[in-house]
């Protein structure tokens, strides 16, 4: 292949009409508002911390330090998920980021699935994410961003083992430089300190399957793309869905259930793996969370598109996920 082929491929794909998004302006405005609020919250926390520090330094006003921003947030010893699954803490640690040394946590295994929960205080903007990996297993998904709200992540652990060593890498991410003036310096954004409380929970599923509500109906039209076909099912009973269609298509997937965001769909066309391995959107309120994956199928010739479903991390038949997949085309 030649460089010319490479240019042609890039131009072919770059010339494709992007899925229309009439809500882009309002979505960007919402992101700006959220970022402003987060900046204010962080600034407010810093001021509160400074005030607390000043108070401890004043003569005759010594007080215990206040629990303000950048202190270790607490995670419960037990909690119950919406579907009745009971979570019990089996190991915990605290990680300060950015950091250079990896933290290794030994997690006892009893055969029950293990989830990792995190709560974080400190820097939000330019936040960094610990990556979690278990020996001998494929790379885990990391945690998205520093948030006080508890985030729960499915963890893949070795089957049949009595324990697992989980490595928390407090790497600094997002250090690409920003150049604000033409020919000016490209400055690294400052990475501020965050304190992550991490806890490993084993969970015991409900005694009977808890069937989630049906996913909302997929939109009949998204810009120029119309809904051609759709299929629905419940994982794990239905873990494959097949469509026969033609031409350029977009695939949309929405799911319901406590483990909905962990369901992943790999796509193959005419039996050939496309390498696409997408997650499922959860649509509870607001605009449809479009996440259309585009596939250029041959025009005038019917192709078979197969989606195979798998769960990322621990799963159980009593925690099913209901899914709905739509094929869109012009």
């Amino acid at each position: 292949m030649t460089v010319q082929d490479l240019r042609e491929v890039l131009r072919e794909h770059g010339a494709a009409a992007p899925p229309p998004n009439p809500a882009r302006r309002t979505q960007v405005e919402a992101r700006i508002r959220r970022r402003r609020l987060r900046s204010r919250a962080v600034a407010g926390g810093a001021i509160a911390a400074a005030v607390a520090l000043a108070a401890t330094l004043l003569p005759g006003t010594a007080q215990p330090p206040d629990q303000t921003a950048a202190t270790k947030p607490a995670l419960p010893d037990t909690f119950v998920a919406a579907d009745g699954t009971e979570y019990r803490k089996v190991a915990a640690t605290t990680v300060v980021t950015p950091g250079k040394k990896k933290v290794i946590v030994t997690v006892p295994l009893t055969g029950n699935p293990i989830d990792l929960a995190a709560s974080c205080t400190g820097a939000v903007r330019g936040s960094i994410t610990p990556s979690v990996a278990a020996a001998g297993l494929p790379p885990q998904h990391g945690l998205v961003a520093c948030s006080k709200e508890m985030q729960v992540l499915g963890l893949q652990v070795p089957k049949g083992a009595g324990k697992a060593e989980v490595v928390i890498d407090p790497m600094v991410a997002g250090t690409g430089c920003i150049q604000t003036k033409k020919n000016g310096p490209c400055d690294q954004p400052k990475i501020e300190r965050s304190v992550w409380s991490l806890a490993f929970y084993e969970w015991i599923p409900p005694a009977r399957p808890v069937i989630p509500e049906e996913p909302r109906a997929l939109p009949g039209r998204m810009g120029e793309m119309k809904l051609r076909k759709s299929e629905s099912g419940t994982w794990p009973e239905q873990d494959t869905v097949t469509f026969r269609t033609t031409g350029a298509i977009g695939l949309e997937k929405i799911c319901t259930g406590d483990l909905a965001s962990r369901l992943r769909f790999s796509v193959s066309v005419n039996g050939t793996d496309t390498g696409v391995n997408g997650s499922c959107a959860v649509w509870k309120r607001g605009d449809f969370p479009w996440a259309m994956g585009m596939h250029a199928l041959p025009e005038g010739k019917t192709s078979t598109v197969t989606l195979k479903l798998r769960m990322d991390g621990g799963s159980h038949p009593n925690r099913p996920v209901r899914w709905s997949v739509g094929v869109y085309g012009k």
Binding site: M1, R24, G142, M171, R264
Partner: protein, 162 residues
């Protein structure tokens, strides 16, 4: 210096072009939209200091994309290994271009960014280096590595050095 009053016009008129660049980086329209919106949000805060909005937003798209890659936070998970040979299946409709497109999607983030900036945006080495915040020599070496992985004929040396 860009006036914030033109920000919305910029979003309306330039988004599709920038979204295509984001798509070539992510290979997924949803991720591309997310990447574009993240870059536009970052750009809004820097807007009064930005002299050339479009190159600036493109630069933020690229740096944000490479930082996402480091965080491994993305919806799509391309495999690490390239196929030994390209699949040539005329009956299935998967041709050399499809194979090349998928192979681009398996490149590491920085090499993918170099390929998109150099061969889609047609940026010379120096501007690509500026966009990525690295040395021109790094751009050349990343280009060579990427082309080798893509099994693209590197005989057109001028392409790499310009």
């Amino acid at each position: 210096m860009a006036d914030r009053s033109i920000f919305h016009d910029f979003v309306a008129t330039r988004s599709d072009r920038l979204l295509r660049t984001a798509y070539l980086l992510t290979h997924d329209w949803a991720l591309a939209e997310d990447l574009l919106q993240e870059a536009l949000t970052k750009a809004w805060f820097a807007w009064p200091r930005v002299e050339e909005p479009e190159p600036y937003v493109r630069r933020v798209i690229v740096t944000t994309f490479t930082s996402w890659w480091r965080r491994r936070w993305r919806r799509e998970l391309p495999s690490h290994d390239l196929p030994e040979t390209a699949h040539l299946d005329a009956t299935g409709g998967i041709d050399e271009h499809d194979s090349l497109w998928r192979a681009i999607g398996r490149l590491p983030a920085r090499q993918r960014a170099v390929i998109v900036l150099r061969f889609y945006e047609d940026l010379p080495v120096a501007e690509t280096a500026q966009a990525l915040g690295c040395e021109p020599g790094t751009v050349k070496s990343q280009t060579a590595k990427a082309l080798a992985k893509l099994r693209v004929d590197e005989s057109i040396v001028k392409e790499l050095q310009r």
